[in-house]
């Protein structure tokens, strides 16, 4: 016959252990996998708050290739020198820029956001669908030093693809996203290809969200092969 006190004690201990393991694993997950708040040191003390917040420069004026390629570039020395060839050129903060401009050696910035190599992310598609940069990157125009704002995990991607009305932010003015159709007919430089597949590939999953009122501003992928839960959309 067990003593009632000792039974209480063992239950109590078990509870504590369970709480410790669960909370500990959550903290580990937050640190290792979510990795939000990662703020690497940069070779130049560049402030997005001054350039974008105070002066109102658009995101796409430096990260131009986000509009027409999968990869959003880290701007070259040349694109900094458009202004800093004269503006504050003698300042100490601009010194590494000048050196790199004269010696033709690129400045090596440290990467903040990193999609794992087995997955791919296409900036062009998201920006042409009028999804704002701040959906993933946060309000960079208020950050002195850029840090990772959202976890780049599979659950983050899929949550947003399933319920975009919860997470996706329509294009704001500061990002400089072109809201009309990008096809300029006379030259036909940009041609969009549409695929019609009668039987959608495996992993397809269409939700009721497509008819949501919130999404009227966003051109949502309605084409079958670009469905939101097709494995090969993100994986090779």
């Amino acid at each position: 016959m067990a003593d009632s006190k000792s039974v209480k004690n063992t239950i109590y201990f078990w509870l504590l252990w369970i709480i410790i393991t669960i909370a500990g694993f959550y903290l580990l997950y937050d640190y290792v996998i979510k990795n939000t708040g990662f703020m690497p040191a940069q070779p130049i003390q560049f402030s997005h708050k001054v350039h974008s917040g105070d002066f109102g420069m658009k995101c796409l004026s430096c990260h131009t290739s986000a509009e027409n390629s999968a990869y959003s570039e880290i701007p070259t020395t040349y694109s900094c020198m458009v202004c800093h060839i004269a503006l504050k050129n003698t300042s100490d903060l601009i010194k590494p820029l000048n050196e790199s401009f004269d010696s033709l050696k690129p400045i090596i910035w440290n990467r903040v956001y990193r999609v794992p190599d087995f997955a791919k992310f296409n900036h062009k598609v998201h920006i042409n669908s009028l999804i704002d940069c701040s959906t993933c990157h946060g309000e960079v125009e208020k950050m002195e030093k850029v840090y990772q704002f959202r976890p780049i995990t599979m659950s983050w991607c899929i949550d947003c693809h399933r319920y975009p009305e919860k997470y996706a932010i329509p294009a704001r003015d500061i990002s400089g996203i072109f809201s009309a159709d990008i096809n300029l007919d006379s030259l036909n430089l940009y041609k969009k290809k549409y695929y019609s597949i009668i039987n959608p590939p495996y992993g397809m999953w269409l939700s009721d969200v497509y008819e949501s009122e919130y999404l009227k501003n966003i051109v949502y992928p309605r084409v079958y092969s670009r469905g939101n839960e097709n494995c090969s959309v993100c994986h090779h």
Partner: protein
Amino acid sequence: MIRTIFKWFLMVLSSLLLIVAILLHFGVIKFYREFQPFEIIADMDNQIKSLPQKESNFFVDSASFRNPVENTIPKIGSKYHLIDLEYEEAENENKNPLEPTEKVLARGKNRFETFCVPCHNHDGKGNGVIITKVKLKEGEEGFPAPANLTREFTRTISDARIFHILSAGQNLMFPVNYKLNETDRWALVHYIRKLQKDSNIKK
């Protein structure tokens, strides 16, 4: 005795962990750090392949991508071959393929707002943020005043000449052809013309 101390220790630890985890989850507190965390299984995260703007150990200049051979013709658009002082040749060669439709003007406005506004301002009169808002410390040079796009000289010159300035640069202005393709530059020309008309009306 040891049992009670151990009990208290567990209690404090669990409550601390729980509170921190809850606060972190709801974003009340945030930890910033400069170093990247260890990776549990890093084999597939870091594959041996070259990615855009990634350093490579294979080539001498440590760039992972090779430049195209000389005289390569780009798939989209064409490389601008004139330098900034050859504007007379440019006037003969360049012809605007676009017409100022609504779509083209919208594209031109978007491009103007992103690339030109910091210097030339929203109305094109040349008193942008670069002059008005930049605070200079002692011994630092400012940017000389950008050109007024609505002045008479800019009105009289041809579309081809403006396109030439955009793609080859002029004085301190760097060429923008490395950021904007041909269509965008021609759309910009149309938008600049529209700005000039608008400034007429206000007078």
